[in-house]
């Protein structure tokens, strides 16, 4: 599949509150091809539209104009239910504030995305264990998530993103709250996932991320447009 775009955006625009006085043009004229198995970082100042672009790529929202193609299939006009199904199987999300559900244990949080798929419980538990071990928080599996440190919470969030074994992992500002040591560890995790063949799409204005060797591509954004990259 290398070479042909895994995910393609053509002429994308996103307008919030369209037609109302508080209308915001968050994205305009976005053309972007993403290859499978690569690490891409969206970079740009605050308000440039990075998060908005991630929501479109990850099927969390639909563009106001333009086309999103996933493995050759146009998904921009699909109804909510289909988008949900695609999200379940293709994307794993690591949110900026992790968004773990307080009161539930680490293991329960990690298994949440698998519930609607109805996977057999023993299999799901084993998968959860395996992920937590891989991310070296196996001993925290039964702790309520509100007890976790920032680094542990992020690992739990990553484990949750991986539980359905998605092809693409999306992370918004993954290192915003992490110190240098934890950032280095995060880059290590990215390397591991890339080695497993995952496609990663991140946003960041952190030079430690953008300059990391594992990153294949940096897309620079400003005012809702792509202004460059390497």
């Amino acid at each position: 599949m290398t070479g042909s775009p895994f995910l393609a955006l053509q002429g994308i625009a996103k307008i919030y509150n369209e037609g109302r006085h508080n209308e915001v043009r968050a994205l305009a004229d976005i053309d972007l091809d993403l290859e499978a198995g690569k690490v891409t970082v969206l970079m740009g100042p605050s308000g440039s539209g990075k998060t908005t672009l991630l929501t479109l790529v990850g099927c969390l929202a639909r563009p106001s104009a333009g086309r999103v193609t996933l493995e050759g299939r146009d998904i921009s006009g699909m109804p909510e239910r289909f988008l949900t199904a695609i999200r379940q199987r293709t994307f794993g999300f690591v949110f900026q504030r992790f968004n773990l559900i307080p009161g539930l244990t680490v293991a329960d949080n990690v298994m949440l995305p698998a519930y609607p798929l109805g996977r057999p419980h023993p299999e799901l538990k084993a998968r959860c264990r395996e992920l937590l071990e891989m991310l070296r928080i196996g001993d925290r599996a039964d702790a309520p998530v509100q007890w976790l440190s920032g680094g542990e919470a992020q690992r739990a969030a990553i484990a949750r993103a991986l539980v359905n074994d998605p092809a693409v992992v999306i992370a918004d500002e993954p290192t915003a709250n992490l110190d240098t040591a934890l950032t280095a560890e995060f880059i290590g995790v990215v390397e591991m996932l890339k080695a497993q063949g995952k496609t990663l799409i991140l946003t960041s204005h952190d030079p430690r991320i953008c300059d990391a060797a594992v990153v294949d591509r940096v897309v620079e954004m400003r005012d809702g447009r792509i202004v460059g990259g390497r």
């Binding site: 998060t51 991630l54 929501t55 969390l60 929202a61 909510e80 239910r81 949900t84 999200r87 379940q88 999300f93 949110f95 900026q96 968004n99 559900i101 307080p102 009161g103 539930l104 329960d108 949440l112 995305p113 698998a114 519930y115 609607p116 798929l117 109805g118 996977r119 057999p120 419980h121 949750r160 359905n164 918004d172």
Partner: protein
């Protein structure tokens, strides 16, 4: 197929975990809910049971009662009518009854003094209803003094108490001999309180009572069905009053439910957003929230109905029997025969569980259709 079952199991597990996480809120809700259903169900069971009870008691009462009217009021009737009545075709038996009310000023209670037709009481003795026995702490072998309306003191030896099966009607009864009865009230000889008539063929009650009206022109003829109807309307009325009071309680509850349910906390909204973003369908989210509300209301409903059942049938509806039965001092504390109707349960179910579940579903549905991208903010 297996996946569907497994999926439902996961959703139910998650629901139970969610209930446990918001323990305080859910317990509070459960308590209020239980109280409301308990009160509603008790009132309904009690009213229903009482009516049933009255019907049982009346089944043993005469098919036709003949009373004398004087200036539109109940008056004594001469025993001499008996012979003429017995001559009417279709009448199986006619019997004069002697009964009257006595107000016990010391106890501030009303008793019914009667002369029984099916047993003889020795003069100077009395058989008393169980409520009087309790009230005045009397038993067989004791004696009781009643001050007659003519200000004469009468002494009765207690020869026994009445069994309490039909307590609703017999609790306040004092059975005495005819001689004592007439002496106590100064009741004129040759007169009785009313006449009980039984007919050969129950279908002829209407015809026979018409004949009696023609024979005794100043009589009021009351059939058992008439009495039953007036009992029923009395109970309906009292139950109606309670229902009006309860309507207020239900309203308060609806407001509470709306507030609790409609005011989805920011935390819950966020949780719904997270679930949707990580791949839950809108229907999964609604199912979980539906079960959350459903388990609380259904659980409370079952607990409350069981409590109400015990309250009414094992503790005699102690909490508000006075309001429903209306006898302040002498209300009988009898045990009603357990009796439930499906329609009754359904009515209370639809008054409580259904509105609550709807009240929870609407806001959840509104929250569940939000775009999943909101959690990225």
């Amino acid at each position: 197929m297996n996946r569907t079952i497994e999926r439902q199991r996961y959703l139910i597990d998650f629901t139970i975990a969610s209930l446990a996480r918001r323990r305080g809120r859910n317990l509070g809700l459960f308590a209020v809910y239980t109280l409301l259903v308990f009160v509603l169900a008790s009132a309904s069971l009690l009213g229903y049971g009482l009516r049933k009870e009255a019907r049982t008691v009346l089944a043993a009462s005469p098919e036709i009662l003949v009373q004398h009217l004087l200036a539109g009021r109940h008056d004594l009737i001469p025993e001499s009518h008996l012979a003429a009545l017995r001559d009417i075709r279709g009448i199986a038996a006619a019997e004069g009854r002697l009964w009257g009310y006595y107000y016990d000023a010391g106890m501030r209670a009303n008793y019914t003094l009667m002369v029984p037709s099916d047993r003889t009481i020795e003069p100077g003795t009395a058989i008393i209803g169980s409520a009087i026995a309790r009230l005045r702490n009397l038993g067989e072998g004791d004696a009781v003094h009643f001050l007659s309306p003519k200000a004469k003191m009468f002494r009765f030896g207690i020869a026994g108490t009445l069994p309490s099966e039909s307590e609703l009607v017999a609790a306040d009864v004092v059975l005495v001999s005819e001689a004592d009865f007439r002496a106590f009230f100064g009741f004129p000889a040759g007169m009785v309180t009313d006449i009980a008539v039984s007919v050969r063929n129950p279908k002829e009650v209407a015809t026979v009572s018409a004949k009696i009206s023609r024979l005794i022109v100043d009589a009021r003829v009351v059939t058992r069905d008439d009495i039953l109807r007036s009992y029923e309307s009395l109970f309906d009325w009292r139950q109606g009053m309670i229902t009006v009071l309860l309507a207020g309680a239900v309203l308060a509850f609806v407001i509470l439910a709306w507030d609790k349910a409609a005011g989805l906390s920011a935390e819950e909204r966020r949780e719904i957003g997270i679930l949707k973003a990580i791949g839950w369908e809108t229907s999964d989210v609604i199912a979980v929230k539906f079960w959350e509300g459903g388990l609380v209301s259904l659980g409370a409903f079952l607990v409350a109905y069981t409590l109400a059942y015990l309250h009414v049938f094992h503790f005699g509806g102690a909490l508000f029997a006075p309001a429903l039965k209306g006898w302040a001092t002498l209300y009988p504390d009898f045990r009603m025969v357990p009796e439930i109707s499906g329609q009754q349960i359904a009515t209370i179910f639809f008054l409580t569980v259904v509105p609550y579940t709807l009240a929870t579903i609407v806001p959840v549905w509104r929250a569940a259709i939000i775009d999943p991208d909101t959690v990225m903010r």
